[in-house]
Every structure is written in structure tokens, then in C-alpha cells.
């Protein structure tokens, strides 16, 4: 007959919950093994990542080196394109900084009243109107001639003979039928596109007392018609357009041989 211990297990001496004969060591070993298994899984995962990432780095580096080598081999092409863009930009700046003389002459002819004539015309691009009127286009100063003339980037900076900010001025000598026609001429000259100021320097009849002989003679006006001298100032030349070089360089064309 089998003996039965009727004392509740928690009240038995020297016994612990689940300890059994191994005193709980089996649980500890199982726990350790479990954790070790997790560690092994983590290690394996990390190891696989290390391997794959190493090969990925090697592959990427090789591709980058290959791309670098090819790009270096093509560097002369890149440099040439840069040279072309730089030169196109420089020429564009010079083209943009020019004064449209033909248009100005056309305008003078267009606005001149019927009873006024011009015996001589002298136009020149004066010095810069000063820093106050110099368009701030950004970029470095282009040195040399014009004070305050601003160009584009220093690398493409060229000095125009008519730098931005320069003021074109015309001096007109002519004849009119009467002083009223001289006044009308002044009014009409103000209609010229781009004119900032029209100044009468003299208007003298050849027979007038105290008249400047040179003006009267040089005018060569008929009878007692007044000879006038008028100074016209135009707006300062604008800064070169800040064009994207790509837009400019894509369209250099050649016309007929000049």
C-alpha cells in the first residue's frame, strides 16, 4: 500500500516550489538555453547583415570608382562645355551692355518737328553715372574702365567699352524756323525712348546781339533762323541680363559670313 503524505507541500521542511530533486537548476538551465538561443539568433542575424553590407559596400565602392574613372576620362568634355558657356556668357554681357545707336538715331529722326533740322549730331557714351545709378546686378566689379560697373561672375567678367551704368549723351546742333520751334523740338526730343533729360544749351539767331558767333556760323541756318544746341541724356546703360548660361549657349548661331 502506497504511503500518502498528507502535509501540504508548502508546509513541508526544506522544500521549494518546483525545486524537485534538482533544486530548480533545471529551470535555470532551460532559461539560460532559451536566452542563449535568442542570442544565437541575434548573432546570426547580425552576422548575415555584416556579410551582406560588406559586399554591398564593396559593390557600391567599385561602382563609384568606375563612375569616377569614367567621369575623369570625360573631364575634357566637361571643361570644354564650361569654356563654351563662359565665353558665351561673356559675349552676351558685351552684347547686352551696348547702346542701340541705330534706334536712337531713328528716334531722333522720328520725333524731330517739321520746321527743325539738325546740322550735326555727336553722341558718346559717358562715364558711369555713379554708384547710385549703377545697377546692382550682383557679382564682382570688373575693374578697369568704369567705376562701379558691375558684371556677372568674376570668372566670366569682361570689361565692356560701354559698361553698365554709363550714360549715353547726344549733343545736337541744328536750326529751327523760330524759337517756338526750338521749344517744340525740346518737347519732342523728350519723347525719345530712353531719354532721361533734354537740356537746351543755346538757341541763338544769327543776327542777335551778343550771340555766339561760332554757334551761329556752325549752325549755318538760313536767314535769321535760330541755331540751337541741345544736350540729350539717356538712361544709364543697364546691367547685363542675368541669363542662365544654358539658355544662352544652346543657341549660338552663325549667319552669313560678314
Amino acid at each position: 500500500m502506497r504511503a500518502v503524505n498528507l502535509i501540504p507541500s508548502e508546509q513541508r521542511r526544506g522544500s521549494t516550489l518546483g525545486a524537485g530533486r534538482s533544486q530548480g537548476a533545471a529551470y535555470a538551465v532551460l532559461a539560460v538555453l532559451g536566452v542563449l538561443a535568442i542570442f544565437a539568433w541575434l548573432y546570426g542575424t547580425a552576422h548575415r547583415q555584416v556579410s551582406s553590407r560588406r559586399s554591398e559596400v564593396a559593390s557600391l565602392t567599385a561602382r563609384a570608382q568606375q563612375a569616377q574613372a569614367t567621369a575623369e576620362r570625360l573631364t575634357p568634355y566637361t571643361d570644354f562645355i564650361a569654356l563654351r558657356e563662359q565665353r558665351t556668357q561673356a559675349v552676351s554681357q558685351l552684347v547686352d551692355s551696348r547702346f542701340d545707336w541705330a534706334h536712337a538715331f531713328h528716334e531722333v529722326g522720328r520725333v524731330l518737328p517739321r520746321y527743325a533740322s539738325i546740322s550735326s549730331l555727336e553722341g558718346k557714351i559717358g562715364s558711369s553715372a555713379g554708384t547710385a545709378t549703377t545697377p546692382a546686378s550682383g557679382g564682382s566689379s570688373t575693374s578697369a574702365s568704369a567705376s562701379g560697373a558691375k558684371g556677372a561672375a568674376a570668372s566670366t567678367a569682361v570689361t565692356s567699352a560701354t559698361p553698365p551704368g554709363s550714360v549715353p549723351t547726344f549733343t545736337l546742333n541744328g536750326c529751327a524756323r523760330s524759337q517756338a520751334d526750338v521749344a517744340l523740338t525740346l518737347d519732342r526730343l523728350r519723347l525719345i525712348q530712353g531719354v532721361s533729360e533734354v537740356t537746351l544749351q543755346s538757341s541763338t539767331k544769327s543776327g542777335a546781339s551778343g550771340a555766339s558767333g561760332s554757334a551761329a556760323i556752325s549752325g549755318g541756318c538760313a536767314g535769321s533762323d535760330p541755331a540751337f544746341t541741345v544736350a540729350i541724356s539717356f538712361e544709364p546703360l543697364p546691367a547685363a541680363l542675368a541669363t542662365g548660361s544654358s539658355a544662352v549657349t544652346s543657341a549660338v548661331s552663325t549667319g552669313g559670313v560678314g
Binding site: A25, A28, A157
Partner: protein, 258 residues
């Protein structure tokens, strides 16, 4: 040793084993994987940069022929040498087209209205003003013609190099910047040099500046139509790319070597 002591010993041993496993195996591998991940990121970024440069270089390579042609055509506007003969030729052609008498050309910005030497030899001896970027070559031209003809001549001179409506450049000849213009009655009919009535004839004195590439730069920077590196693998050479020896129209003529 009591059961409790054994239990403590087992637990401590298990913890030591686990800690050792973590510190010696798992953690270093994970750190290594993390480091490699950052390397992968860096390598990817480097590869993207290099591939971008490569794409840019390949684009430059594909655009090389067009760029070469446009750079050569820009050489008509700003040649590598002084090219006074071609400038005189262009001016003579333009004045012929506009029925204007091309009276004289004098190198330098000084007043040249009294000069009637129509020679390019005197012009070539004059000093050029070297400034930042292009070298300036001032000239003074004297033309005789009617107001209308001179106006059209101004248009044509400006039209040697102009901006197109699309923002590009159209190069038909030498880039000129007119600094001053003086229109006055022709002193004699003989000076006018035409059969037109002397009263209608004007003498136009124009001070203008042409431009020359810096001596250090060739027209194409040593590139040929086939290769930017100057003849490597090329069977075609530009006949006149040497500074000082080229003509604005010459680069369009290529010599094919056997």
C-alpha cells in the same frame, strides 16, 4: 552548501554566461553591422554623386559637337587674334551694302575725323588695351553717306553679333561696341565720295571697340572638332586655331588628315 546557495550560484553563473555571450559575440557583431550600415549609406551617397557627375560628363560628351561649333562661331565675334583684315573686310562689305563710303579706319580711340588713311596696316600697329577678360581694340571709323544710309549702317554694325528673340546669340561678324558717333555735314562733295548731292551727305565718325580673346586662350582651348583633348584619336584638325593666326571665318574650315 545549502540548496539556496547552489541556486544563487547557478543563477550567477547563468548570468555571467549570458553576459559574456552578449558582450563578446552578439554586441560586437551588431555594432559591426551598424557601422557597415553607415558605410553603405556613405557609399550610396558617393555613388549617387559620382553617377551624377558621370551623367553630366556624358551629357557634355554628347553635346560636344554642337558646343564646338558654337564656340567656333563665337570666334567670329571675338577672335583669338586681332584679325584687323577681316574686320576691315566686314566693315567694307557692310558699307557697300548700305551705299556708304567707308572712308577711313584708324586704330585707337583718338579722334580721327581728319584722317583719311584707309588702311588696315596702320590699325595693326596700334596698341590694344588689355583689360580683364577680353582684350579691347579701339578703332575710329569714318563713313560718308546719307542719314538714312548711316542709320542702316549702324544697324548692320550692331547686327554683327546680336541677341535673338529666344535669348541666344546670332553671330554674323565681329562684335563691336560703339562708344561714340558723330554725324556732321560732309565738308566737300569729293570727301563724300559718291555721286549723291553733297548737301545730303554726312560724315559719320564712329569710335568703336572690338574685342580679342586673351592670349592665354586659344579659340577652342586646344580642342579639335573630334576631341576636346586636342587631337587624341582625331583625324581632323582645325586649320587655324593658333592664337594670332586665325580668322573668325577660318575655324569653320577643317582640314581632314589622311
Amino acid at each position: 552548501m545549502t540548496g539556496r546557495d547552489r541556486m544563487v550560484l547557478i543563477v550567477v553563473s547563468a548570468l555571467v554566461v549570458l553576459a559574456a555571450a552578449w558582450l563578446l559575440l552578439v554586441s560586437p557583431e551588431r555594432q559591426q553591422a551598424a557601422k557597415l550600415q553607415s558605410k553603405v549609406t556613405q557609399a550610396s551617397a558617393q555613388l549617387a554623386t559620382d553617377e551624377s557627375q558621370l551623367a553630366s560628363a556624358r551629357s557634355a560628351q554628347s553635346r560636344y559637337a554642337a558646343a564646338y561649333a558654337s564656340l567656333v562661331s563665337l570666334g567670329k565675334a571675338v577672335p583669338p587674334g586681332r584679325e584687323v583684315p577681316s574686320l576691315v573686310y566686314q566693315l567694307a562689305q557692310a558699307s557697300n551694302q548700305r551705299h556708304v563710303d567707308f572712308s577711313s579706319i584708324v586704330s585707337g580711340a583718338s579722334s580721327a575725323s581728319s584722317s583719311s588713311s584707309s588702311s588696315s596696316s596702320s590699325a595693326t600697329a596700334a596698341p590694344a588695351a588689355a583689360v580683364a577678360g577680353f582684350t579691347q581694340m579701339p578703332f575710329t571709323f569714318v563713313f560718308n553717306g546719307t542719314f538714312s544710309d548711316l542709320y542702316h549702317l549702324f544697324q548692320q554694325l550692331n547686327g554683327f553679333t546680336v541677341r535673338t528673340a529666344s535669348g541666344g546669340l546670332q553671330v554674323n561678324g565681329r562684335l563691336l561696341t560703339i562708344q561714340s558717333a558723330k554725324l556732321g555735314p560732309a565738308s566737300t562733295v569729293a570727301e563724300a565720295g559718291s555721286a549723291k548731292a553733297g548737301a545730303e551727305q554726312l560724315t559719320g565718325t564712329i569710335t568703336a571697340t572690338a574685342y580679342v580673346l586673351p592670349a592665354a586662350q586659344g579659340l577652342t582651348g586646344g580642342a579639335t572638332s573630334a576631341s576636346p583633348s586636342g587631337g587624341a584619336g582625331s583625324s581632323t584638325t582645325v586649320a587655324s586655331s593658333a592664337p594670332g593666326a586665325s580668322s573668325p571665318t577660318a575655324p569653320a574650315i577643317a582640314r581632314v588628315l589622311p
